[in-house]
Symmetry: C2
Subunit: 121 residues, 2 copies
DNA sequence: AAACTGTACTATCTGTCATAGTACAGTTAT
DNA sequence: ATAACTGTACTATGACAGATAGTACAGTTT
């Protein structure tokens, strides 16, 4: 499930957060679904329990999951709203990247063609 | 000219690299132009000379500048080609971000509209 | 009661970033 | 030539984030 690159400059706990988000967007993880327990993920990935705990704490802080001591870590019920809101905050980043590419010699048409070619689920 | 945020999680030397790139794309810095000397930038920004040197080394490594001991650090002559090549390598990143937004509930049309609204120089 | 859940805490190690200080090789202007 | 400038290299040091190790605790499930 999770693929961690220990050589990456992106912290392990952040890689877990990012990949969890991706699984949600891909429909692999759905509202109410239970994530692996801290100790399970520890065994699966081969990192320290504290690192997993840090990732789960960050996921909850972002509203993507709800953690309950004794039960587990679950995908939030209102996950689609949370994703939408988070995505809207990323639009400036999208525009900045698009402008960077355009200013570097890539045409608008090329970018638009790329967007249209994307396969949405 | 340069605006450094010491609180940012982005290293200072990388902020210098990023902003130099932006100045080039904006037409503020052009091929052959001389960047401030290491010691000038040290005084302007208020950081260690080693930090500036590290930024200049990275800029040269990326082909954006050419440093000559005794003369200075200059914007590369073939800068537009370098920018174009670098931009092409970033297209997958652009597509990934676009797909993320689409999968989060933002429409393709909205993204395309945003791209079309960008003011290119 | 046993086995599980998430969480909290201290201590320690590591790597990256930035600083401080010094030094050296090459260029420019006087 | 000489002084003042250029980029670069090097060691040493401190600060910080990330990850680990170990232990402990509160709540849930069977």
């Amino acid at each position: 499930m999770f693929t961690i690159d220990m050589q990456s400059r992106i912290p392990v706990f952040e890689q877990i957060v990012i990949q969890t988000e991706e699984f949600i967007r891909a429909g692999i993880l759905n509202p109410g679904d239970k994530l692996p327990s801290v100790r399970e993920l520890t065994a699966m990935i081969g990192v320290n329990p504290n690192t997993i705990s840090k990732a789960y704490g960050e996921l909850e802080r972002r509203g993507l999951t709800v953690s309950v001591t004794g039960k587990g870590c679950f995908i939030a019920k209102n996950i689609s709203d949370v994703l939408k809101t988070a995505a809207e905050k990323k639009i400036p980043e999208f525009e900045k990247l698009a402008k960077e590419l355009i200013d570097s010699g890539i045409t608008k048409d090329e970018l638009i063609r790329r967007v249209n070619s994307l396969v949405s689920q």
